[in-house]
């Protein structure tokens, strides 16, 4: 009875304070709204309209045709023309263009001989056999692997139409059926992951600031002379933000569904349960930070210390499997990793809680042990 009563008192206090803090209140809605719209539209791994340069030493009609058909792929746009390879290299260094296409003087001859062009990999010692040399060359600013990959995609571009030959279509070795995201749209994978990122950010931030703020403003010295128990204080601090988190998750998922046509294949109940568990794990993580930190600035720094790996290692940005084992271990500790897996599983693949048991159990264990640790670590003394 007393237990519930005091928790209710803390919850109601937190809600009053939250309601009065209009900026925070606005951010609760604005963060998921703006971030989703931003990332939904902005994050795109399909590279298009790269600024490129052209060094045309051939001046033939074929060279012009080739340049046009390369531009027609929309991967690059020839903004600049250079007279020499040296000038082109300098342009790449200046950052004026990302790649340069060099059409050599003997381009037309190479094209005519070109048995290999766009058909098969040139042999290792291609340079020794002039009849098998590629017709032209790309110089690429290779620092961004995504851009290099896009240009590499152009390497095997079929040029049969150009030289008026019958189009040769190699039969692929494998057939591929992309499940769950047949159109291969990025936003389908990003939107559920974004729920994890936004919740990590806001939930950890809210609770990491909460206890430190009371300490900084002097409220704590009074609070710890009252009969309030550490566990009551912890639970009371968490509950209001659980609702905040659910609202935020709802905004992200609803918007992804209606604006970005992200399929919600799993049941809402399963999504709700998984999200709830992650919210609690994140809030508890914030509490642990809050107990350790002496000032709000320290709390903020520790929050970012957790936040960055949560975004980069959780599988939100890069596939978990692509990371080295040590990074995977770190990722396994973070609740965000488990939630990214869970929420993608439920939303996209209609996995049920049974399928996701290892991740779900980790979230439960993290939240409960963390809460216990927070309550034990919280000292009702000043020494």
């Amino acid at each position: 009875m007393n237990f519930h009563h005091r928790i209710a008192a803390i919850v109601s206090k937190e809600l009053h304070q939250l309601a009065r803090d209009q900026m925070t209140f606005a951010m609760i809605v604005m963060i998921p709204l703006v971030q989703l719209l931003l990332f939904g539209y902005a994050i795109n791994t399909d590279v298009r309209h790269l600024p490129a340069g052209l060094v045309n030493q051939s001046h033939s009609a074929y060279a012009r045709l080739l340049a046009n058909s390369v531009e027609a792929t929309q991967v690059v746009q020839f903004h600049h023309h250079y007279t020499s390879v040296k000038a082109a290299e300098q342009a790449i260094t200046r950052g004026e263009v990302r790649a340069v296409l060099i059409l050599p003087q003997d381009f037309t001859e190479r094209l005519a001989q070109g048995k290999t062009l766009g058909r098969e990999q040139p042999p290792v010692n291609a340079m020794d056999r002039p009849e098998q040399r590629p017709a032209a060359q790309w110089l690429v600013d290779g620092s961004d692997t995504m851009i290099t990959a896009a240009i590499r995609g152009l390497r095997n571009m079929p040029l049969d139409e150009l030289v008026d030959r019958e189009v040769y279509q190699p039969v692929p070795s494998f057939e591929m059926v992309p499940y769950f995201n047949p159109e291969q749209r990025n936003v389908v994978n990003i939107a559920p992951g974004l729920v994890a990122v936004i919740l990590s950010m806001t939930m950890i931030m809210f609770t990491s600031a909460s206890l430190v703020r009371e300490r900084e403003q002097g409220n704590m010295e009074f609070l710890i002379t009252t009969p309030v128990r550490p566990l009551e204080l912890m639970i009371g601090k968490i509950i209001p933000f659980v609702f905040v988190g659910l609202v935020q998750a709802g905004i992200v998922l609803a918007l992804s569904h209606w604006v970005f046509r992200v399929p919600i294949n799993g049941s809402l109940l399963t999504i709700g349960i998984a999200t709830l568990l992650f919210i609690m794990a994140s809030l508890v993580l914030g509490l642990l930070i809050s107990i350790r930190a002496q000032t709000q600035l320290q709390a903020m720094q520790m929050t970012f210390f957790i936040l960055l790996p949560s975004i980069l290692l959780s599988g939100f940005m890069f596939p978990y499997e692509a990371m080295p084992v040590a990074a995977q271990w770190i990722a396994e500790v973070l609740p965000a990793t488990h939630f990214v897996r869970t929420i993608r599983g439920v939303v996209l693949r209609d996995a049920d809680l049974g399928d996701l048991m290892p991740d779900i159990s980790w979230l439960i264990a993290f939240a409960l042990l963390g809460l216990l640790l927070a309550a034990l670590r919280f000292n009702k003394r000043l020494d």
Binding site: Q17, R20, T226, K380
Partner: protein, 316 residues
């Protein structure tokens, strides 16, 4: 005779090498107002924090309302109220919300809570500002709200850490009226202060300096027991400053302080006839005739000066 509210033996708290409180013995009777008097950094707040169970004593025993501290601190908490030196209620909650919150933390609910909050609102003149945010209140209003919050659960023992430091004299007087009311209801109040006039209102008093208790007792007893006689030298002119420096160089003179045209001199009680002794000290100059010496009643400030070893500017 009721048992004492607070008993400590050798209560000490060290922060590293710094002895914030060192071997303080207290015996504070129930139903009295007891004062901790001392300058800033003398160990008042640290002592109060140990007595409320917030700090663990490095040495010594502490017994408050019969509870052994620090391990019985939780049981003690429902029976004490604590008003911190710095305003510690929530600046972004209204007066009423703050009281409701504190009340509910102390397990009041429903009608009882509402009645108690309304009662405190009237008692501490908070009705007119009940919807105002606590952060926007004046010093006096904050202090009344803090006292209301500290007494919401009707505690037997109240700790007030420099409660009047940010309050004007008018409010201070009113505040003390309230303390006497609470004391009249049988509550024990421990208040720390560095105001002499406040200390003089207490039933009992401990003078603290550098973490050590220099003296304790009722203000009257302290003044009677004081190991010095107070003599005021009146008249003369601006030579008083020079005279003061001359006097405090002597070991029998505990202190000399200028009060307008008078010089208040504390002469050690080891000197059998202080008036005669002092008039000899005045020397042979022509101004001696104009000066009048008079023995006066000691004040608490004199007691304080005598106790705290603050003998003169030249002493180590």
């Amino acid at each position: 005779m009721t048992s004492p509210a607070i008993v400590t033996k050798g209560m000490s708290r060290y922060f590293g090498d710094h002895k914030a409180v060192d071997g303080v013995d207290l015996n504070i009777p129930s139903g009295s107002i007891y004062g901790f008097l001392g300058p800033n950094g003398c160990g008042k707040s640290t002592s109060i924090r140990m007595l409320t169970g917030l700090l663990t004593p490095t040495r010594g025993s502490v017994k408050v309302l019969g509870y052994e501290l620090p391990h019985q601190a939780e049981a003690l908490r429902v029976r004490i109220g604590y008003m911190t030196q710095k305003f510690s209620l929530y600046a972004d909650l209204t007066v009423r919300e703050n009281l409701y919150f504190v009340g509910r933390i102390y397990n009041l609910s429903g009608k009882v809570l509402r009645a108690r909050v309304d009662e405190l609102m009237v008692l501490y003149h908070l009705e007119a500002i009940d919807k105002q945010l606590a952060g926007s209140l004046s010093g006096g209003q904050k202090q009344r709200l803090a006292l209301a919050a500290a007494t919401i659960h009707d505690p037997d023992l109240l700790f007030l850490d420099e409660p009047t430091s940010a309050v004007d004299p008018e409010n201070r007087r009113e505040f003390w009226e309230r303390l006497f009311d609470l004391c009249g209801e049988g509550k024990t109040i421990l208040v720390s202060t560095h105001y002499m006039d406040e200390a003089e209102r207490c039933h009992g008093l401990a003078i603290l300096e550098n973490g050590i208790k220099r003296a304790d007792g009722s203000p009257q007893a302290l003044m009677q027991r004081m190991g010095a006689n107070v003599i005021e030298i009146d008249g003369g002119n601006n030579q008083l400053r020079q005279l003061k420096n001359q006097l405090i160089a002597r070991p029998e003179i505990i202190s000399a302080a200028q009060l307008g045209t008078r010089l208040r001199v504390l002469v050690s009680s080891e000197v059998p006839q202080p008036l005669i002794y002092l008039s000899k000290q005045l020397g042979r100059d022509e101004q001696k005739a104009q000066r009048r010496l008079q023995q006066v009643r000691p004040s608490l400030e004199d007691v304080f000066v005598t106790c705290t070893g603050n003998r003169n500017e030249f002493s180590p």
